[in-house]
């Protein structure tokens, strides 16, 4: 477990670097080296750091600690086969983190990033209907039980395809440079992270890295089942590259379009899930 805890930030940062590289190559640019995000994080770790005078100090610092803590917790949940509901709980708490990071410094750019994070939360709430769908099919929300169910009945990717699409969209909405990445759009500088620099930024990068690792791993476990570490890594990489293709080929939506598209997509998927439930 400790090994995974140490490896997850590095693999996550490497994934984020591969994501940037893949987007660049798809768009015909050379792109940065794949280890660029690791170098970024190391650079931020040794930069001069302070707290802006306008910031709410405990919130400004505490929220970075919370960001890392929740995703470390999520890593444990996935590794120990814990509750999927708790994993989605962490995902929702991450919204609060983005909100807190954005509002705490008092900067208008960071605030707009935080506000965009909050308004997009309304489009992700119906995801819990998808969780209910998984519970309906497998009889459990424990990831260990879901993995066992797939060992007995085959991957949920095929039998619960709409749920897989919904979770794919969840991961896509959290990827950098994606169509739903409105929280860190360039017109608001770096969005909610604008005023977090130095060590604080390094902390946020590490939490992002663990988040990327956890969400990709959870997707594979929930919709394909248990795999050996090498196959798991390859499966996560395949999903990542597919996400890079989507990010490279789609423009970033405006905030309200982003919410509308996610909301409509999720409603369609929930209806699809309901029909599957009625048939079953």
């Amino acid at each position: 477990m400790i090994g995974y805890l140490i490896a997850a930030p590095f693999i996550g940062l490497l994934f984020m670097g591969i994501h940037r590289k893949a987007i660049a190559r798809i768009q015909g640019r050379p792109g940065p080296p794949v280890w660029q995000e690791i170098l970024h994080t190391l650079k931020f770790s040794f930069k001069e750091t302070w707290v802006p005078r306008t910031a709410s100090k405990p919130l400004y610092i505490g929220i970075v600690v919370i960001a890392i803590a929740i995703w470390v917790g999520a890593l444990y949940i996935v590794m120990l086969g814990g509750s999927l509901l708790l994993l989605f709980g962490v995902y929702m708490v991450h919204k609060m983190v983005e909100h807190g990071v954005g509002l705490s410094p008092g900067s208008p750019y960071a605030k707009f990033g935080g506000v965009r994070s909050v308004i997009s939360a309304s489009s992700e709430i119906p995801l819990f209907a998808v969780v209910a769908g998984i519970y309906f099919f497998t009889g459990s929300l424990m990831i260990s039980d879901i993995v066992q169910y797939q060992a007995d009945n085959g991957p949920l990717l095929f039998s619960l395809f709409p749920a897989a699409i919904a979770m794919y969209i969840v991961i896509l909405s959290k990827m950098h440079y994606g169509p739903f990445s409105i929280v860190e759009a360039k017109e608001i500088v770096s969005g909610y992270k604008t005023e977090h620099f130095g060590v604080w930024r390094a902390g946020l990068e590490i939490s992002d890295a663990i988040k990327t690792f956890v969400l990709l791993m959870a997707f594979v476990l929930i919709f394909w089942g248990a795999l050996s570490p090498v196959l798991l890594f390859i499966a996560m990489l395949i999903i990542l590259i597919s996400l890079s293709f989507v990010c490279a080929l789609t423009p970033m939506l405006s905030p309200y379009d982003s919410v509308t598209v996610q909301l409509v997509t999720i409603v369609i998927l929930v209806a699809w899930m309901a029909i599957l439930g009625l048939i079953a």
């Binding site: 005078r53 306008t54 910031a55 709410s56 100090k57 405990p58 919130l59 400004y60 505490g62 919370i66 917790g73 814990g82 509750s83 509901l85 708790l86 989605f88 709980g89 929702m92 708490v93 919204k95 609060m96 909100h99 807190g100 509002l103 705490s104 410094p105 008092g106 900067s107 208008p108 605030k111 935080g114 506000v115 909050v118 308004i119 997009s120 939360a121 309304s122 489009s123 709430i125 819990f128 969780v131 209910a132 519970y135 009889g139 459990s140 929300l141 424990m142 039980d145 309200y256 919410v259």
Partner: protein
């Protein structure tokens, strides 16, 4: 004495906290939600609000909004009350207590927003207030239908005979929580964010989402 019949939703039961015949319970799930609410409440207690900077359009000027004096004390009190109510809601072992805590969260949220002396924020507070008031009807209506249909509001007893809660009651409680929690309406009414005081504003978001996370667990359990 108390054992949740299913551990496949929020994990194994860790311990129970009885207050007379009201028996709260902690699973890894409700325990984590409680912890989140506690951490953000502590942040509310110990944080001073930020000085929110705004650009004065058409000029090069920026101005800082300050939260001082009575306004600060009132909003901090409301945010702490909201956090305490959220902690109650996420650990409650009783549907009626859950709905009471949820409605208390709704009142506190309005309090946090409505004390800001800004016409845009007050307008948002007025709209939230209307939604919050309306939401109490389905919220308590759902609990009443459950009691009428099953004879109990204890999650312990309901989970033992699950699925016991009528579908219409679940739907009504869900609608009630969405209304009280406000979060789904942020997208339509984001003027609230003109209000300075990040630690207090964030409590609105925390309580809304944690209540939503809890109601999903209750819906699946009963």
């Amino acid at each position: 004495m108390f054992e949740l019949p299913t551990s496949s939703i929020g994990g194994e039961e860790l311990f129970v906290l009885p207050f007379g015949d009201i028996v709260n319970y902690f699973t890894p799930y409700t325990g984590a939600l409680f912890l989140f609410a506690l951490i953000f409440t502590l942040i509310c207690i110990f944080s001073k609000p930020e000085k929110q900077l705004d650009v004065a359009f058409g000029t090069d000027a920026i101005y800082a909004k300050d939260v001082t004096g009575k306004d600060l004390h009132f909003r901090r009190f409301m945010a702490i009350a909201c956090g305490v109510a959220t902690m109650g809601a996420v650990t409650s072992g009783d549907v009626f207590n859950f709905t009471l805590f949820v409605s208390m969260v709704g009142i506190c949220i309005i309090g946090i927003v409505a004390s800001v002396k800004n016409k845009h924020v007050l307008n948002a507070a007025f709209n939230y207030g209307i939604i919050s008031m309306l939401a109490t009807v389905p919220l308590f209506g759902g609990a009443a239908i459950t009691l009428a249909a099953t004879g109990t509001l204890s999650i312990w007893e309901l989970s033992a005979i699950a699925p016991a809660m009528p579908g219409i009651a679940k739907a009504l409680i869900l609608v009630g929580v969405m209304g009280e929690g406000i979060a789904p309406f942020y997208a339509a009414k984001a003027e609230l964010f003109r209000a300075p005081g990040a630690p207090y504003v964030i409590m609105i978001h925390v309580s809304s989402l944690l209540m939503f996370l809890r109601v999903v667990e209750i819906m699946l359990t009963v």
